[in-house]
Every structure is written in structure tokens, then in C-alpha cells.
């Protein structure tokens, strides 16, 4: 996946990419999450959260600092996407 021009990231597209990553590497095939599903309720633990952070680092070029790991930014794939877009703007 190309990081492209980060200032033009589309939140919908980023939400789709984050959701696809989670479904491909963390979730059981029979239990995919959707962009607005609560990730903790879906079963994501501390290690799974770190995998998502590594995905963001690899694809969007930055590491989410500790102070930004608040529920509003990490509760759902869309919350991650909104954060990524804000941070990249």
C-alpha cells in the first residue's frame, strides 16, 4: 500500500485499510469487524493494539504517542482513521 500524499488522506479509505488489516491479521475469518465496531469488545488485546500501531507506522509513517492512546482515538477502526487523517493534515 502506498502512503501517497498524507495530506489528502480520505478518512473512509483509511478506515477501510485499518479494518482490512485488523481482519486479515488479528480477527478470526468468521468474525470480521466493521469500521464502527468497538475493537475491545471484538476481542483486541494489548498485543493486537500494538500490531495496529505498527501497521500505522509502516503505512502512514508515524508512531502514535502514548498521550494519544485515548479511547476517542482507538475505540474503532474509524476512530484510528480519523486520528490518522487529523495527524496527517
Amino acid at each position: 500500500m502506498s502512503t501517497g500524499n498524507l495530506s489528502r488522506l480520505d478518512p473512509e479509505e483509511v478506515a477501510r485499510a485499518v479494518t482490512e488489516f485488523i481482519n486479515a491479521t488479528i480477527m478470526a475469518r468468521s468474525r470480521p469487524v466493521r469500521p464502527d465496531d468497538d475493537l475491545e469488545l471484538a476481542g483486541l488485546d494489548s498485543m493486537a493494539l500494538l500490531k495496529v500501531l505498527l501497521f500505522i507506522e509502516a503505512h502512514y509513517g508515524f508512531w502514535m504517542p502514548d498521550e494519544d492512546l485515548v479511547a476517542d482515538n482507538i475505540r474503532t477502526a474509524r476512530a484510528f482513521a480519523n486520528y490518522i487523517c487529523r495527524r496527517s493534515a
Binding site: M27, A28, R31, V33, G43, S46, L50, L54, L69, V70
Partner: protein, 440 residues
């Protein structure tokens, strides 16, 4: 007359590590039992549990299997013959005088070591006691830890509950779920490369053997445990740090252990603590049998525990690096190769095992008791928790789990490694750090 064919389930990865760690203490005859305690709102019918277990054996024989190893050191495996030859594991029923007798009964379960070569690797007990005029009960599942991890124990209960509810009808829609994890599909060459990489990493992890509360212990005592339930006000501290994060919890436990170290005048050597990583895909129960785990190894000095927030960041950074470098996956692969070694040499590559030291202490978050098990054998579940045995070294372990709104904190220890006063300080230190209030 022909002998029924033997079915074999090989022990893999973390199962082998657990067997080998117990073997370090072979002469002391230490217990490798784990108990899962499910408290219910009324009496349980033992015949329903036994019937569900009997039905389960038609689909999966491993609760009635025996541990076997061909001479001289072939692969360790669970062995079972045909259904007709299998004996349903025991389901015992006991009436206790009151709630105060429950704890003693549970510690007896932990200490009555299962010998998986001669008896089924698990057993059930239903304990019943009067409480305010209405009887309460606990379903206790005790197993030889290498058979299953705590999540597997929950999965087994879920299968039994399903068979209890679908009595007389086709369970699982006619197709039983996979009870074991599939073997690693990667080619041997690739797994060999990963395994060697993990060995190099492990050897370089800590310069010296870790010290633990059990280090000076020559004659291990009984396994003890304490369990307390709490409720929490805050999911986050200052709106930032999730108190459910394993790094935060480990830092809290580390702080209480450092206090123990200071009081005992132990050296400021790095703690080495294994953090188990559940390899099951999220969102569905996954495998029941086998410990489906990889390990990350946290390292920090007692003197680094004063600032819990800073320590949490350090621990998260270590975990991130291990994940980035593929070391957690490599640890799971390396453990698979233990099957090619004699028992005495299995742990050669873990730090400190030459002196029977393994880790500084144990710590794990055994996660959520599944909401799907709110009702079990016709009764409502009030609370559920796990109490694993710990080995004489490290001699103490702290375990978290959650059931509904209750946060359970279990401290297991070996008599002689720590005492009740020290355990009370550990419990209170963690409670205070987590900001929990006692549950009513």
C-alpha cells in the same frame, strides 16, 4: 480380538515448556494443576455435568487421555483409544460447612497433583455450601496445566454447556468445532531459521540468571492462593492510560515486587517476566486443547518501578520492538522444536534454567470470562476466576481476570517462597495502583 487404535495428540510449543519446567522439580513432586472456579447462584446437578462430559467424549477423547512418551524420548503426546474404552473424568460432589471452607477445598484441589500418566488430565468438583439460607455452589475444573491454557478451560466449559443445552439433538449443527490449533503450515526450513533466531535472542536477553522469591527455597511447601474481587471506577487514568493494558498491569505488579525485593535486601538485578500472548484469532473461541501461546519476555530493574507511567512506556516499547522484530512469533516456533529434545535439555536455551531459575515472578491477564457463559448447567454465574499453580521458582505469580463487572486478582505462591503478609502487601499494592474498590 484386535486392540483399538490409539489416537495421539502431540504436545506442542508452550505445552512442552510447561512439562519441562515441572520436570526441573521432579524430585519435589510439585503440582502442575490449574483450577478454574465458577461460582453459581444455586446448587448444580453433578449428573448433568457428567452427562455432558460423556457426550463430549464422543466427539473429542482428550479429557480422558493419558500422557505418553515412547522410549527413549519420542514425542510427548496425549493418547486415547476408542470411545468404548474411555472413562469419563470424575465429577465429584461435596457439601461444605460454609463459605470459609471453600478456600481450603480449592487449595486442596491445587495441591492434589494430577498424574496424567495414570489418570485423566482433568477432574470436576461441585462444591456446595449454605449461604444466608440459600445454597450456593462452585463448579471447579482442575486440570494438568499442559493440557489446556485458561482460555481452553473456558472453551471446554462452553462446549459442555452447549452439549447440556442440546441434549438429544445434533450439537454444533452437526459439525464439531476444531478442538486443537492447526499445526504451523510454514516449511521446516523457514521454521528452523525462526527457531534459531529465537534461541540467539533468548541467550542474549539477560546477562545473569534472574533472582526470584523462590531462589533460596530448598524444600518447597504447598501451593497457596488468594483471590479478591474488585470493581473499578476508571477505565483510564487521566483519560489516557487504559488500566486494562497488560504493560500497565505488569508495571503495577512490578512495583509491588520491587517493594518485596527492597524489604528482603535483594540485589537490583533485572526482573525477567514472561508475558504470554494468546495466538488464537480474535472474535471466536478457538482451540480448546493445548496451550496456544507465544511468549514475550519483559525486563526491568526493581529500581525502575518507582515511576509506573514511565515503566509502562518502557514495557510497551520492549513489546513493540519484540513484535517489530518478529521475536514473539519466533518464540512460538522455537518452542515447537523442543519436541526433538530429551526432557532434561528442553529448557537449555531459556535464561537461567541451568540453576533451575526461570523467571523473577509470573504475571498474566487471563482476560474476560466469556459473557456466553453467563448461565451454566441451569444456573447463573456470579463470578469466575483461575488459580494456576506456580513452580517453587519463581514461587509467586499474580493473575488478573474479569467476570462481568468484577476484576479478580489472584496471587498464587509456594509456601516458603513468600508469606501471607507479603502476599497481602502485593494484593493491596496492586489494588491501590489500579484504583479498584472491593466488590460487594
Amino acid at each position: 480380538m484386535s486392540t483399538p487404535r490409539v489416537r495421539r495428540l502431540p504436545l506442542r510449543g508452550a505445552d512442552l515448556v510447561l512439562v519441562a519446567m515441572q520436570a526441573l522439580w521432579k524430585r519435589a513432586g510439585v503440582s502442575n494443576n490449574t483450577v478454574m472456579v465458577v461460582q453459581c447462584d444455586g446448587p448444580l446437578d453433578s449428573s448433568r455435568v457428567a452427562r455432558a462430559l460423556g457426550r463430549f467424549l464422543h466427539f473429542c477423547p482428550w479429557p480422558a487421555a493419558r500422557l505418553r512418551r515412547p522410549f527413549p524420548w519420542g514425542a510427548l503426546h496425549w493418547a486415547a483409544r476408542s470411545r468404548a474404552t474411555l472413562t469419563v473424568p470424575p465429577v465429584r460432589h461435596r457439601c461444605l460447612g460454609g463459605p470459609e471452607a471453600l478456600h481450603a477445598a480449592l487449595e486442596a484441589e491445587l495441591n492434589t497433583a494430577i498424574d496424567p500418566r495414570r489418570e485423566p488430565p482433568l477432574r470436576f468438583s461441585i462444591l456446595e455450601w449454605p449461604s444466608d439460607g440459600s445454597p450456593q455452589s462452585a463448579l471447579v475444573l482442575t486440570w494438568f496445566h499442559p493440557l489446556m491454557d485458561p482460555r481452553g478451560g473456558q472453551n471446554l466449559l462452553a462446549h459442555l454447556a452447549h452439549l447440556d443445552e442440546t441434549d438429544g439433538r445434533g450439537p454444533w449443527g452437526g459439525a464439531p468445532p476444531a478442538f486443537m490449533a492447526a499445526p504451523d503450515p510454514r516449511p521446516l526450513k523457514e521454521r528452523g531459521r525462526l527457531g534459531r533466531r529465537s534461541q540467539r535472542y533468548m541467550r542474549a536477553l539477560v546477562p545473569a540468571s534472574p533472582v526470584s522469591p523462590g531462589t533460596p527455597l530448598t524444600t518447597p511447601g504447598r501451593v497457596r492462593f488468594t483471590q479478591m474481587s474488585f470493581v473499578d471506577d476508571d477505565y483510564a487514568i487521566d483519560g489516557v492510560r487504559s488500566t486494562r493494558e497488560i504493560c500497565w498491569r505488569l508495571a503495577q505488579v512490578g512495583r509491588t515486587m520491587a517493594d518485596l525485593w527492597r524489604r528482603r535486601g535483594l540485589p537490583d538485578l533485572p526482573f525477567l517476566v514472561p508475558v504470554s500472548v494468546d495466538l488464537r484469532p480474535k472474535g471466536e473461541p478457538g482451540a480448546t486443547f493445548g496451550n496456544v501461546l507465544a511468549f514475550h519476555f519483559a525486563r526491568f530493574k526493581p529500581s525502575e518501578t518507582a515511576d509506573v507511567a514511565a515503566l509502562t512506556r518502557t514495557l510497551r516499547d520492549q513489546m513493540t520492538e519484540a513484535l517489530r522484530d518478529g521475536q514473539i512469533d519466533a518464540s512460538a516456533v522455537a518452542m515447537e522444536f523442543l519436541k526433538y529434545r530429551p526432557l532434561a535439555l528442553m529448557l537449555r536455551d531459556l535464561p537461567g534454567t541451568a540453576t533451575r531459575e526461570t523467571f523473577s515472578f509470573n504475571c498474566a491477564d487471563l482476560a474476560e470470562f466469556p459473557p456466553a457463559l453467563e448461565k451454566l448447567f441451569g444456573r447463573r454465574v456470579i463470578n469466575a476466576y483461575h488459580a494456576p499453580s506456580v513452580l517453587p521458582r519463581p514461587g509467586v505469580g499474580v493473575f488478573f481476570n474479569r467476570c462481568g463487572i468484577r476484576n479478580n486478582l489472584v496471587v498464587s505462591w509456594i509456601e516458603g517462597a513468600v508469606n501471607e503478609e507479603e502476599v497481602a502487601r502485593i494484593t493491596e499494592g496492586v489494588r491501590e495502583g489500579m484504583g479498584w474498590r472491593p466488590a460487594l
